[in-house]
């Protein structure tokens, strides 16, 4: 028998979709900022102006969403807890992790049961959150340059000296491509698990519910 479980609480889902929306917008506008591929026919236009405006607006939205999700890691249920991102901290987690990895590499057939994140994905999500925080920090550090002595320059401007502002830009730009790579991987794995586990992996991130086989519990 399948049991229907409420796994992803609403803050997790809202943050997830806000992150998706803002990340897509940030990547599109960020790519344009780095490489303006459209040229305005006349000076009355404001193409780069709007791109930057959108980039910074979504940057704030993204920051709020990421910070909210991080706070929820400490108040939400066990599946949204920060501990869920480190499956290899527990014995069962380690076993499931290896099982999952073997499944992905076609060296094993058994899928571990996961009520929350699948253990390999969870590890990837930890990396993703690190990249999110990196984008926010490096983004606001270079953002602060327009107003030396202002708020962002005050709290993050030191990074421009420590790392060098050109390297920060290059890293900010490069991390976008890592996130694009994750995006492809993530949607593919979501689809794969949805097909193979038949437990509502995909619909779960919309509705919050997943089907758990009672034998697995």
């Amino acid at each position: 028998m399948n049991e229907i479980r409420y796994v992803w609480q609403w803050p997790v889902r809202i943050c997830h979709w806000l992150n998706v929306l803002s990340m897509i917008m940030l990547a599109l506008t960020g790519f344009f900022i780095g490489r303006p591929f459209m040229t305005a026919p006349d000076t009355s236009m404001y193409i780069m102006g709007w791109m930057r405006m959108l980039h910074f607006s979504f940057a704030y939205l993204f920051t709020v969403s990421v910070v909210a999700r991080i706070i929820w890691m400490f108040i939400g249920n066990e599946h949204s807890s920060w501990k869920a991102f480190f499956p290899w901290l527990t014995k069962e987690g380690r076993v499931a992790f290896v099982q999952m990895l073997r499944y992905y590499t076609f060296t094993g057939k058994k899928l571990p049961c996961s009520v929350g994140h699948n253990p390999v994905a969870a590890t990837a999500y930890f990396g993703i959150f690190v990249l999110f925080v990196f984008q926010i920090v490096s983004g606001f550090a270079i953002y602060g340059q327009f107003a030396p002595g202002g708020f962002w320059d005050g709290i993050l401007g030191g990074l421009n000296v420590l790392v060098g502002n050109q390297w920060l830009r290059l890293l900010h730009h490069g991390v976008m491509w890592l996130l694009v790579g994750f995006f492809i991987n993530h949607i593919y794995s979501g689809w794969l698990m949805d097909v193979k586990e038949r437990n509502g992996t995909m619909s779960g991130i919309f509705s919050g519910y997943r089907f758990i086989k009672s034998k697995d519990l």
């Binding site: 040229t39 290059l170 034998k215």
Partner: protein
């Protein structure tokens, strides 16, 4: 009604002007100089007489030394026009030692430097041009038998204040660029904690140097500086935020190649690698060579010469971002990124096809009911 136009600067007292004239300086030039310098320091016009007073009656001893340098900063300064270099240097400052200017040479010159240092201990302004090589026990640069390391340390420690002119003395500059064969360092890292102000630029803008000296004479201390030890009056704003081509940046109009129509129309040089967005300097407002022009005005992007490590981090000069370490010179971050994304997509595509055909996997206890 009182408008901004009514604000007139208080006059410079007549006796100051007379004393200046007695020294053979044209009073008009002197007034122009004091006004321009007050403006460069972002001080209100009411400070003009104070500045005039300070400039007129203090004749500070100056020692100007060069280590690993190209003398570009000396040259820039000698071509300053306000007042003409000769006047400023010979009348307003008392240059005790400057390799490019002095008649003395050899032991005589070294003797002069030593005497000036002893005589004006704690009073002279030290101006340093060029980086200091610390490699080979300081052997890469010696003057009169003393290494630049020892010479510089001694001079800085005995100075009232030290002004580093140009990117080399401020940040190491070109001699310190990778692989930095002589282990060149800036004055600031050679003598940490000393009263030093950095005026980077390649070369330094003579007007910024003059203004810094005048600030020191007027207020008895070095100007307020940013994190990198650069005076805020000159390095407090980004090139990009004061650039005359900024309208075209925001609009989305870019020159794509040197000499194309857009470049001639004065469009933004961003895509030609302009480093204005990452560089702090007042080039767009005070410009070079008597305010005639500056690189972006002349149609060439900023190369970020006043930022630390510019030779390594701002190059390739005609690309926006640095070269990705470990990759070829032609690989931009985007090319590598697209490659990465494509490789991911292909790998997962193959994985997906293979997964569709795999049998006998899934949950061991799985039982699905087939509907007829």
């Amino acid at each position: 009604m009182k408008t901004d136009l009514d604000i007139v600067s208080p006059p410079i007292p007549e006796e100051i002007l007379q004393r200046v004239e007695a020294k053979g300086i044209n009073r008009r030039d002197f007034i122009k100089f004091c006004t321009a310098t007050t403006a460069a320091l972002a001080l209100p016009v009411s400070f003009i007489p104070t500045v005039a007073q300070a400039v007129e009656d203090k004749r500070p001893p100056v020692i100007w030394v060069e280590y690993q340098s190209c003398s570009g900063d000396s040259e820039a300064f000698l071509r300053a026009n306000q007042p003409t270099a000769g006047e400023l240097i010979l009348d307003l400052l008392s240059i005790e030692y400057a390799e490019v200017l002095m008649a003395a040479a050899g032991h005589q010159a070294e003797e002069a430097k030593h005497q000036a240092m002893e005589k004006y201990k704690g009073q002279y302004i030290l101006i340093v041009e060029g980086s200091i090589p610390t490699g080979a026990g300081g052997g890469y640069c010696t003057i009169g038998g003393h290494s630049a390391v020892d010479d510089c340390k001694k001079l800085v420690q005995n100075a009232a204040a030290t002004i580093c002119v140009g990117s080399c003395s401020s940040f190491g500059g070109i001699p310190a660029a990778a692989p930095n064969p002589t282990s060149a360092v800036s004055v600031g890292s050679l003598v940490p904690g000393a009263a030093i102000v950095n005026l980077p630029g390649c070369p330094v803008n003579a007007d910024n140097l003059t203004a810094t000296i005048v600030h020191f004479l007027t207020f008895g201390k070095l100007p307020a500086v940013d994190r990198l030890g650069r005076p805020k009056f000159a390095y407090g704003k980004r090139i990009h935020d004061n650039c005359e081509r900024r309208g075209h940046f925001d609009a989305g109009q870019y020159a794509e190649a040197f000499g194309d129509e857009a470049q001639r129309q004065g469009h933004c040089l961003y895509k030609l690698g302009c480093k204005g967005p990452e560089t702090f300097h007042n080039c767009p407002t005070i410009r070079y060579n008597e305010g005639t022009s500056w690189p972006v005005m002349a149609g060439h992007g900023c190369i970020g010469c006043s930022e630390p490590g510019f030779w390594d981090t701002m190059s390739p000069f005609y690309r926006r971002l640095p070269k990705v370490p470990g990759f070829g010179i032609e690989d931009t971050a985007d090319k590598i990124g697209i490659g990465l994304a494509a490789a991911t997509a292909v790998a997962f595509g193959i994985h997906g096809v293979a997964s569709c055909f795999r049998k006998g996997d899934s949950m061991a206890e799985d039982k699905t009911v087939k509907e007829d």
